[in-house]
Symmetry: C2
Subunit: 257 residues, 2 copies
DNA sequence: TTATCAAAAATAATCGATGATTTGTCAATC
DNA sequence: GATTGACAAATCATCGATTATTTTTGATAA
């Protein structure tokens, strides 16, 4: 651990949302993030904090990240801040230009379309591979992730439940893919999932009424553990496609193409 | 530009290869890299220098990167060095662990297999898309890249020609894919190409006698500009697959699986 | 009024020094 | 002889201050 310990951060945390995108939305679901799970250094913790701030929409898309202000808000020095930002570039959440500093990556409908399209390709590829090479434990992992997701409450009035649902949803998809035993492909899928979550959490109020997402997830999972690649992949593809279309519809009302 | 200018760097350059992997292979093809093409900051230049050092095999796979030594060798301070290394993580060339520092990413046959497999999937996806959406100029770009590649000398006795050929080869593949108009997919392909180049440049002495690589490239290019997706993609897939098998054969003699 | 340039302010990039953690060494103990 | 623990050295991480670059401001001239 560092010398000064955690408390100071939690305090400055709350200010972060308020100051950085001055007074847009107040309620920060910040506090839940700090569970020091092996990420010892300030830079590493900062990566997670910044990622959450961007994915959750608390850091506005396209906004410039003023280093001095951010340094003060997060109560860190420049070195770990710059390093953390650099590590978010590959995730597609931050963009950088020499002597011009860092910005939050912008969002657009075409970007979302590409994410959706690539998710369809990559995730079905990974799932197909998983159904053929994953060890038996994988099936249990999938069913557990499914159960935890389906039993999680999702109350629009309570942001904490929404955030928990998001985490479990992400966990479900990654567990599904993890069986493929291809670390690079998994990394790409994780990146795309990150990017996609950002759109959903920023722009989707609730999923459209004509879908039963729980059923969709259950079908995918059952196909997967039955090692029925064609069925599982087809369901997964539909699931991704629907989510993408849904989001794109919401999105095009709100931002430029 | 920085105040002190370029000369100092070129000098320290030569030492870099010698010191970092102490006396493994002497001949450095370093000098050619410094053409300050818009990359103004030390950190950005360092990214390119380090990338070249790793991809070319001058920085040994799996080796620890001692910050103090590297700092001295490259004649920079810690801040840009750390930042440059952080930016290479997403490319899969550098790995990092809290409080344990940076290492050159290791190589393995399974890693190479995955790279090859994913290149087959991603590059054919991109090429198929390109044949359907790329603008007319793209065809000219492809043919030019092909011509430059096919007329480049490749003399095993002269490392400079080999390096130039590598650059043109990379350029050809990227030009081919660039027509797809999908920035994320292009980024993934670029990453995979980087990783693949590293294996080729480190482990492949020469391509096996039963291949005529020029012809392979020409067929791919001609299929592409004719907008014959099936033909072009099939040739591309074979090309990638052959290169991968070839490399894997060389590799398994030399390192652990 | 608009355009242009120079100075000033703001911001980004880098450095050298300091603090924290890991790794290596060696004696004491079982 | 192997193991443990404390110390020392090496290495990594962070900070505050300095330097370089970009952006803004404001005065001048067309």
């Amino acid at each position: 651990m560092t010398a000064d310990g955690a408390p100071k951060r939690t305090v400055s945390e709350a200010r972060a949302a308020a100051v950085l995108n001055a007074g847009v939305d107040g309620a920060g679901a910040w506090q839940s993030v700090f569970v020091d799970d092996g990420k010892n250094t300030i830079a590493s913790q900062l990566v997670e904090r910044l990622r959450e701030a961007i994915v959750s929409g608390q850091l506005e898309a396209g906004a410039k990240i003023n280093l001095d202000r951010a340094r003060e808000i997060f109560a860190v020095s420049l070195s770990p801040l710059r390093e953390a930002l650099a590590r978010l570039i590959p995730d597609g959440l931050v963009i950088f230009e020499d002597n011009r500093g860092y910005r939050v990556a912008p969002v657009s409908v075409t970007d979302l379309r590409e994410i959706t399209r690539l998710r369809e390709e990559f995730e079905t590829l990974a799932l197909r591979q998983a159904t053929s090479v994953a060890p038996p434990e994988w099936e249990g992992d999938v069913m557990r992730a499914l159960h935890r997701l389906n039993t999680a409450e999702r109350n629009p009035a309570d942001p904490a439940t929404l955030e928990r649902w998001e985490a479990l949803h992400r966990e479900f998809h990654l567990t599904l893919l993890a069986g493929c035993q291809m670390p690079l492909l998994l990394g790409f899928c994780r990146t795309l999932l990150n990017l996609n979550d950002r759109y959903r959490r920023s722009f989707l109020v609730r999923t459209s009424g004509d879908r039963n997402v729980s059923v969709e997830h259950s079908e995918i999972a059952q196909g997967a553990v039955a090692r029925d690649a064609d069925f599982a992949c087809e369901r997964l593809r539909e699931h991704i496609h629907r989510t993408g279309s849904n989001l794109a519809a919401h999105l095009s009302d709100r931002i430029a193409p």
